[in-house]
Amino acid sequence: MSDGALNLNLIFNLRQASVLVVDDCPFSLDITAQVLMAFGVRPRFLCGSADEALEVAAHEVLDLIIADCEMPGRDGYEMVAHLRRHGGEVNAYCPVIMLSSHTPRSKVLSARDCGANFIIAKPLSPRVLLQRILWVARDTRPFLEAPGYVGPDRRFTDQGPPAAGERRAGAGEALREAVGG
């Protein structure tokens, strides 16, 4: 397992991956889809709500879900928690990367506790998104099923999270540094 740094010469192939993107904001959905297409992904399912995404997940096998955190009605956290509990033999274990416009600690904890693999702060950095996708593809953490939690083991014991230098401080940290406070 590497330290998570991006090797520009690394070859990857996501063409066959069944990817679902869910975001209630149409142009955010478009931006994420276009970035994925630049990575050679053909996002099969673009959904405008968590309920729509869960409907797709009930009938299709998914390899990766990219979900907005904040959506009206059922939000991204509830969607992931539902998927982990009721997603069936395959999709319950599907890697999930969450996107958030503004990421205070409370949202990071919510993402962790709902069973997501990662949360990424916007503005969306293609580099960070690709790094996280490749990281979750190599994620060997076991899944944990407990009364209060279903999702990847929240302890990064074997491989560690992506290297701190590559973390881009989730934009939020960078912006925090820029404006101070």
Binding site: A17, A38, L144, A146, A178
Partner: protein
């Protein structure tokens, strides 16, 4: 006694990424601007819409329902972050992030200074329309927002 199960389930994604063919990381990242550029106009229009909506919100003055108003402000500021992100509006993103953070801190503190919200909205408008070369002015505006944020953290 509660039962905890550990399940080893390597994602199918692990085998898919190793399939023959594909693209290098460098090539994939180079391709992003070409894919995103067609969305520029639409996204910049959305940025302007969100800023205009924020200006309308603060133009109404101190709100009666402060919680609802702050929620609306947060939503619009987050919308600016969503739309501006990929299009080199770094300073606008910084101001929008600062406004989100300010509202979040007010929410946790259970109190708010509406004037700080107004200043953020004015700064967003200025940063959106200020010439790119006005580096010192941009920096000064952002520093001012940082001071407001610090004050919100310590108040």
């Amino acid at each position: 006694m509660s039962v905890v199960k550990w399940i080893m389930r390597p994602p199918r994604l692990a085998s898919l990424v190793r399939q023959s063919g594909g693209v290098t990381v460098g090539r994939a990242l180079e391709a992003v601007p070409l894919h995103v550029e067609p969305l520029r106009e639409q996204c910049l229009a959305a940025v302007d819409d969100h800023i205009a909506a924020l200006e309308a919100l603060v133009a109404e003055g101190e709100p009666e329902d402060r919680a609802a108003a702050l929620k609306a402000v947060y939503g619009r500021a987050a919308g600016v972050l969503d739309a501006a992100g990929p299009f080199d509006l770094e300073d606008v993103c910084k101001a929008a992030w600062s406004l989100c953070e300010l509202v979040d801190r007010y929410g946790r503190a259970g109190r708010a200074d509406w004037r700080a919200v107004e200043v953020h909205v004015q700064a967003l408008h200025l940063l959106r329309h200020m010439p790119a070369g006005a580096v010192a002015e941009r920096r000064q505006l952002l520093a001012g927002l940082g001071e407001l944020l610090s004050a919100a953290a310590t108040a």
